[in-house]
């Protein structure tokens, strides 16, 4: 079986498992809201029917369809996570490339120390302190600015550290040395040899990074009071609004599975070592 076929079947199995898991969550959930439905087999059949039509039922706390409740919140989270992911990745990659092209060990080490320190402060504390700093400076607080900045600052150091070590490893490869000695120009050297070799671990990081961004985004949204999925989810947990909890878990799990699949496809496209059949 080819790499992509295997990945695709793997992803669909994961999706099925995820759907089963969230369904189970609704079945074992305690509390008053679900008891009428659980006692009534007809109602359960109806739930299954609704799920087949990709509807998640009605929110118990708000009395409106879950789909309509979640859609604007999903856009809210996307409005934070997507720019933050793009900016964090661009900043991390650019810094790593810049540091690698300028072979000053002191600069690289200084940047790595800063990134490692930034990575170590827990999200909750870092974001709270950032909010404080922004208020103090009179910056954006109630807008999307704070969560985007906070999330970017939590993504960029990780990307930088990984990119920096991937480029370092690629530079040490024998084929890079040989290409340089054979007289390849700097431009060709970077574009043709070093960057593709460094891409593999970074693409694998992409899926993990998206998952991390979604998680950190919950904290950032909660701190900034930004109407994304995070606050809705926390509220739903507090008020035992299971249909909303189930829907959000299913949705985010599906996003993760698909983004991992996209990362795999990218890897397949870019790394010839994977295309060789085993």
């Amino acid at each position: 079986m080819g790499f992509l076929t295997r990945r695709l079947s793997h992803a669909s199995a994961r999706l099925l498992l995820l759907a089963a898991g969230t369904w189970l969550l609704g079945q074992i959930a305690p509390g008053d809201y679900f008891s009428t439905e659980r006692m009534n087999p007809l109602a359960r059949a109806e739930t299954v029917d609704r799920w087949r039509h990709a509807e998640f039922g009605v929110s118990l706390a708000h009395g409106v369809p879950v789909t309509g409740l979640i859609a604007p919140r999903l856009l809210g989270t996307a409005a934070v996570a997507v720019p933050a992911l793009v900016m964090g990745w661009c900043a991390g990659l650019a810094l790593a490339l810049w540091a690698a092209m300028r072979p000053s060990a002191r600069l690289t080490r200084a940047l790595e120390a800063v990134a490692a320190t930034a990575q170590m402060v827990p999200d909750v504390i870092a974001m709270s302190l950032l909010l404080w700093a922004l208020v103090w400076l009179g910056g954006p607080v109630s807008s999307a600015g704070l969560p985007i900045i906070a999330l970017t600052l939590s993504i960029a150091p990780t990307v930088f550290l990984h990119a920096s070590s991937a480029i370092g490893e690629a530079l040490a490869e024998p084929f890079v040395r040989i290409a340089r000695q054979a007289g390849a120009g700097e431009r060709k050297l970077w574009l043709r040899y070093i960057m593709p070799a460094a891409a593999n671990p970074l693409i694998s990081l992409l899926g993990v990074s998206i998952a991390g961004a979604i998680g950190s985004s919950m904290v950032a949204e909660a701190i900034a009071g930004w109407p994304g999925l995070g606050p809705l989810f926390i509220e739903a947990v507090q008020s035992r609004d299971y249909p909303v909890v189930q829907a959000v878990v299913l949705l985010l799990g599906a996003i993760l599975i698909v983004s991992n699949l996209v990362a795999d496809a990218l890897l397949y496209r870019l790394d010839p070592r994977i295309r060789v059949p085993r």
């Binding site: 994961r14 498992l17 999200d123 208020v135 103090w136």
Partner: protein, 267 residues
């Protein structure tokens, strides 16, 4: 001792002997002394109810670190158990266990943690809440370790001394105890340090989001909350002190974890 371990050990030591270093009851309210700046009785000042922030920091640390450490211990047991059994016996057990692992790993961890919290009541007596949080964190987080252990066990199973033991019809339980489990110790010892900060942070995040134990019991999450009220901070700057004190602790814990991960990678 190296400088970077100092915040870690100092905080652990302080929290272990919390009653000695912070004799003021962390949940005792002194309304006369509400919102006072740091002074000789209240080293870090007091909060809006007149509760001593130093006491709440130290006792809260006891709570958060206790939960983190207990959850780590529990995950070690579940993860090692599941991974060993799955890797050693293989077949249907392996497939079922790995399906569970896949399921747990296919969701954002923080969302999974908060979502699982929905299954449990919000208000609980402290002891029950402690056990509940430990169980919750452990049940959501054992998957990665189980997969790591399974990988190690799969390769250990093929070793010659295991085959020899099987040939002498040594029972499985003895093979597991004598030949397989000692081989997983290396990975377990580095994983302890990697998991501990995550789990302490999980408790802090849960209580920060209002899903932990709740008032009046201290937890570190509640202590970070005032930092969010940014408009108050220029007036009541001392309320940020507990959060600032936690930062070196987490940094030192993270450095230790990174060293452990590097050592594990090198070996």
């Amino acid at each position: 001792m190296k400088l970077r371990y100092v915040p870690l050990t100092a905080t652990f030591a302080l929290c272990l002997c919390a009653p000695a270093v912070a004799p003021i009851d962390p949940s005792a309210q002194d309304r006369e002394a509400a919102n006072t700046a740091p002074n000789r009785t209240h080293w870090l000042g007091t909060d809006g109810y007149g509760r001593d922030l130093w006491s709440r920091f130290v006792h809260g640390g006891r709570w958060s670190l206790g939960i983190g450490a207990s959850a780590t211990a529990l995950v070690m047991m579940i993860g090692t158990g599941a991974g060993t059994v799955a890797g050693y016996f293989g077949g249907r057990i392996d497939r079922a266990a790995m399906a569970m692992v896949e399921l747990l790993l296919s969701m954002p961890w923080l969302y999974l943690l908060v979502g699982a919290r929905a299954l449990l009541p919000l208000d609980m007596p402290p002891r029950a809440a402690f056990a509940m949080l430990v169980l919750l964190i452990a049940l959501v987080s054992w998957a990665r370790l189980a997969r790591l252990v399974r990988g190690v066990v799969l390769s250990l199973r093929e070793r010659e001394y295991v085959a020899a033991a099987r040939g002498f019809s040594v029972p499985d339980s003895v093979i597991l105890r004598r030949h397989i489990l000692p081989g997983t110790l290396g990975i377990l010892s580095s994983q302890v340090l990697i998991l501990l900060p995550r789990f302490v942070l999980a408790e802090v995040t849960l209580s920060y989001l209002g899903l932990g134990t709740g008032e009046p019991d201290p937890g570190w999450g509640g202590l970070i909350l005032p930092v969010k009220q940014a408009y108050l901070l220029p007036l009541q700057w001392w309320k940020a002190l507990p959060a600032l004190l936690m930062t070196p602790f987490f940094a030192s814990l993270a450095i230790t974890a990174r060293d452990a991960a590097r050592k594990a990678q090198a070996s």
